[in-house]
């Protein structure tokens, strides 16, 4: 067959291939063998907009108006009362316990996305990275739980233009204790949380990134959806925040103390008793 006779069937093949790969809007990538040019530009350093509360549009704690069950609303109230008295309430991050999901997406310090075909990594200054697997895997049978959980994602091309614009994520298998924010707003101690996210750039302002987070948890009466927005900084300066470096806040039993410059315990509350020393043998 001459070159001229090859052109027509070749062109037809290319056309068919283009039709198959572009498909319809909402096409999903599941085989992980994607052209990197199809992924959105999420490079840079992303700062939270607003405060460190879970729903950035509302105040901390009770102001979040979280759809808590009566039992967990009572836990929140107790946490707030303890914090007001100088304790840490349910906020175990005082002792450098990881934030876990979904709290780590509060992004107290800026975050970074590294998008690769089979995995999207979210890097934090004060938490271990999140891995969002986009290689088409199924849920593992019994993974060990982790504070960040286990995340599987799917890229979505909403416009059908051959470029992915939304990362849909589901996260399971978390361990605890976890709270939504520093007020101690709690998640259920059974750790059966399921979190679904839609992460996408703002259509009008591409230096804004939205994370629409829906949390299903037994501490809640219904799934709770909160949208977080991060703004991009192209000239990144990363300053690590290792909580364990010199944490002078100590929890012994249910009481909080501080370490003095000379390495001794100090009370933080008025008339606070010293810790129980029953295991120490006093010298006679």
């Amino acid at each position: 067959m001459t070159r001229r006779h090859l052109i027509a069937p070749l062109a037809l093949s290319v056309m068919l291939l283009a039709l198959l790969t572009s498909a319809t809007s909402g096409a999903r990538a599941q085989d992980g063998k994607q052209d990197n040019g199809k992924y959105p530009d999420w490079t840079g350093q992303w700062f939270r907009t607003g405060g460190v509360q879970f729903d950035p549009t509302k105040p901390l704690g009770r102001g979040q108006e979280a759809p808590l069950t009566p039992e967990y609303q009572a836990k929140l109230e107790a946490s707030i009362a303890d914090i007001a008295a100088g304790g840490h309430g349910l906020n175990e991050h005082t002792s450098c316990l990881p934030h876990g999901m979904p709290r780590m997406m509060n992004a107290v310090y800026p975050i970074e996305f590294v998008v690769l075909p089979k995995t999207t990594y979210i890097l934090f200054d004060e938490n271990l990275p999140r891995r969002i697997y986009t290689d088409g895997r199924n849920w593992p049978a019994e993974p060990e739980p982790a504070f960040a959980g286990y995340s599987i994602g799917h890229w979505v091309d909403e416009a059908g233009d051959g470029r992915f614009n939304v990362l849909e994520v589901e996260t399971r298998y978390m361990k605890g204790p976890r709270t939504f924010e520093g007020s101690g707003l709690p998640l259920h101690e059974d750790n059966e949380t399921v979190i679904k996210e839609r992460i996408f750039l703002d259509k009008e302002k591409p230096d804004l990134l939205h994370d629409e987070i829906t949390t299903s948890d037994h501490a809640l009466t219904r799934p709770w959806t909160v949208t977080k927005t991060y703004r991009r900084e192209r000239n990144a300066v990363w300053i690590p925040n290792e909580c364990g470096e010199d944490n002078r806040h100590v929890t012994i039993g249910k009481e909080d103390y501080m370490i003095s410059p000379d390495g001794l315990l100090m009370p933080v509350k008025k008339d606070q008793p010293p810790p129980d020393l029953r295991y120490f043998r006093s010298k006679k």
Partner: protein
Amino acid sequence: MGRRLAMISAAGALALTAGAALAHHSFAMFDRANQVDLEGVVQEFRFVNPHTYINLAVKKDDGSTETWSLEGQSPAALVRAGWSSKTLKAGDELKMRIAPLRSGAPGGAWAPNQINFRDGRELDASQRSIGFPDSSELQR
């Protein structure tokens, strides 16, 4: 050496920042409503995570010296406001207004906009841009 001056009530509105401190722990253990003026000599400026510390030697009324452990925001928060590990050093003589520990122990929290050198020199203006973290505003 310096001395502790007076208990004062919260004076006006303090410049507030985003509540990075509540990422770690509550600010409520520090009494922002009854702040204290301190004068002293920096024993050590620890530019560490999760909180920076100024260990300040303060002269008491009886002439003895007491070291105060004064907690600040994280290095990340301070660097973005123009601070560095070299902003303060041992031997610097400071006048500070701090929020003391509610327990009465020699500890408290400091904010960059409430520090002066005792000889009248001011800190760099950029270092005045942040105050106590806006982290204690839990709705009661």
